[in-house]
Amino acid sequence: MKISGKCVKLGDHINTDLIISGKYKYRTQDIRELAKYVFEDLDPKLKDRLYGGSIIVAQKNFGCGSSREQAPRVLKAAGVNAVIAESFARIFFRNAVNVGLPVIVSDKEFIMSVKEDETLSVDLSLGKVYALGSGLEASIKPYPEFMLKIIEAGGIAEYFKAFKRFPWENI
């Protein structure tokens, strides 16, 4: 599976309140509507740069904070094709896998060196990520098999619809 998008760089500890503030979460259940407020407290203009296919490249502990699944869903709805980070908070990571937003752990050097706005391409099967502008490449942390299946299906609901079972039944 291959994913590509425009690089949008963010820092450490991007929490779920920054991704989508708790105050909006109660206003509407509509993810597309919520996506209008993505990253509002961080930078209200950021949402325009996500639109149309982007890959967020963040540093440590991306998605820390609350368990709100609206966070990965909103990112997906806002045009984010994947998130690459040095590390993720665990609930966010699980939620992203479940809703079919690829979350990718890669090394710090790559993350620090890629350039804003350049095109990135990820090959999940080969376990590689490429920065097309600067010509860099790096390995990504491999997924356990059942998790890769969920991501490739586009989320757990899609997987279940296609196979009528969950992929972890034999782990």
């Binding site: 105050k23 109660y26 368990s67 699944e69 939620n95 479940n98 782990i171």
Partner: protein, 417 residues
């Protein structure tokens, strides 16, 4: 050889033993969601296409985050939750019952050694009762609600040993803030944190819950604690025939930390990261607009009691909102005369809700306002305006700061002063 989490997950996945790093498919004993997450879980069930609940006695809903409803939209969420609960015969704790992490153990739903998943990150709180309790998102909650099972990676464990006694006006909140300052906000990501030592053994249930509650602020997956006599006593009459799960003496930990409780002083997490920990002395004098004493971290009777003690017959200078975490706590505070004293001191005493903790209702902050809050997160915009600032502190520090309208070291109001 095994840590607490390894033993619990081995049993719940039908294995003799498991080790850190392994993936398991575990049975789930309790799954719950609240008005911020339940509807999305219900939608996820529909999306997946399984619309049954695996065991109605093991699924619980709470209306606690914005409760009673401050808007028609939220009222609709609440109605939809009530409808689902009725249809599937599951328990729903409605408006006024209290915060999920307080009500669940109070109602006897948390058993030592059990597996609890909640669609809320602070589900780790139930580790105070020796459970493997972890927060999940709505889709995982949906899967657990409909199948009674969920996959987990068995986490590595970290051991934190706390010896000695707190000095006067130092509380377990200060201990957990201290640990957070040491390990940082991602220091225990994916890990199980076990607290041991004489300080933990001698601690009240209220104080232990505060510690387990904030494990997630360090990124931890769970915080299963061994029982102590206070917790055993508390559980009796609420939970029958339970068996504690203890760590083996030679269990393996990836890291250890030692804390001397007698050396701790009142601390805060200054804006706007939970690990921006400073001593109260360092920030003393910062002007405060609002104080919030409540939340699943510090909205218990012990917390209200210390606030009442500090306030005495004086009157607060900052707006001070006090919200007991559950109806039972509210009632206890009422019977003890605390509510009377709080109201006389000029506090606003609310009904049980998460409310201001998450900026849902009951006292949102305006532009540039400063709050001292006993809750667990001080992220930008958490309690209202994105230019407001939050200092996380113990109930003692919060009450002392409410009295003076600025951040104050509570030891000023302690014994012998």
């Amino acid at each position: 050889m095994s840590t607490i989490v390894e033993k619990i997950l081995a049993k719940s996945s039908g294995k003799n033993s498991v080790t850190a790093g392994e993936f398991v498919l575990s049975n789930v004993d309790v799954v719950f969601a609240h008005d911020g997450t339940a509807l999305l879980a219900v939608e996820s069930m529909q999306e997946i296409g399984i619309e049954r609940v695996f065991d109605p006695s093991k699924v619980v809903f709470f209306i606690d985050h914005a409760s009673p409803s401050p808007s028609p939209q939220i009222s609709n969420i609440h109605s939809a939750m009530r409808k689902f609960a009725k249809k599937h015969g599951i328990r729903l704790y409605d408006v006024g019952s209290g915060i999920c992490h307080q009500v669940l153990p109070e109602e006897g739903c948390v058993k030592p050694g059990s597996v609890i998943v909640g669609a809320d990150s602070h589900t780790v709180t139930h580790g105070a009762f020796n459970a493997f309790a972890t927060g999940v998102g709505s889709t995982d909650a949906a899967i657990a609600m409909s199948t009674g099972k969920l996959w987990f990676m068995v986490p590595e464990s970290v051991k934190i040993t706390v010896e000695g006694k707190f000095k006067d006006m130092v509380m377990s909140k200060d201990l957990v803030l201290h640990v957070l300052g040491e390990v940082k906000a991602d220091g225990l990501t994916y890990k199980s944190v076990e607290y041991h030592g004489s300080c933990i053994d001698g601690m009240s249930v209220d104080s232990r819950m505060t510690i387990a509650n904030m494990a997630v602020e360090m990124g931890a997956k769970c915080c299963p604690m061994e029982l102590n006599s206070a917790t055993e006593k508390w559980l009796k009459g609420r939970v029958s025939d339970f068996k504690e799960v203890k760590a083996d003496k030679d269990a393996s930990y990836v890291d250890e930390l030692y804390v001397d409780a007698s050396k701790l002083e009142p601390l805060v997490a200054a804006p706007s990261n939970v690990d921006n920990v400073k001593s109260v002395r360092e920030v003393e004098g910062v002007e405060v607009d609002q104080v919030f004493i409540g939340s699943c971290t510090n909205g218990r009777i012990e917390d209200i009691k210390v606030a009442v003690k500090i306030l005495g017959d004086r009157h607060v200078k900052a707006r001070c909102i006090v919200i007991p975490a559950s109806r039972r706590i509210y009632y206890e505070a009422l019977n003890a005369g605390y509510i009377d004293k709080l109201v006389r001191a000029g506090c606003i005493v609310g009904f049980p809700t998460c409310g201001p903790c998450i900026g849902a209702h009951m006292g949102l902050l305006g532009d540039g306002e400063v709050a001292v809050s006993t809750s667990n997160r001080n992220f930008v915009g958490r309690m209202g305006s994105s230019s407001s600032k939050i200092y996380l502190a113990s109930p003692a520090t919060a009450a002392a700061s409410a009295l003076e309208g600025k951040i104050v070291d509570p030891r000023k109001y302690g014994e012998g002063r």
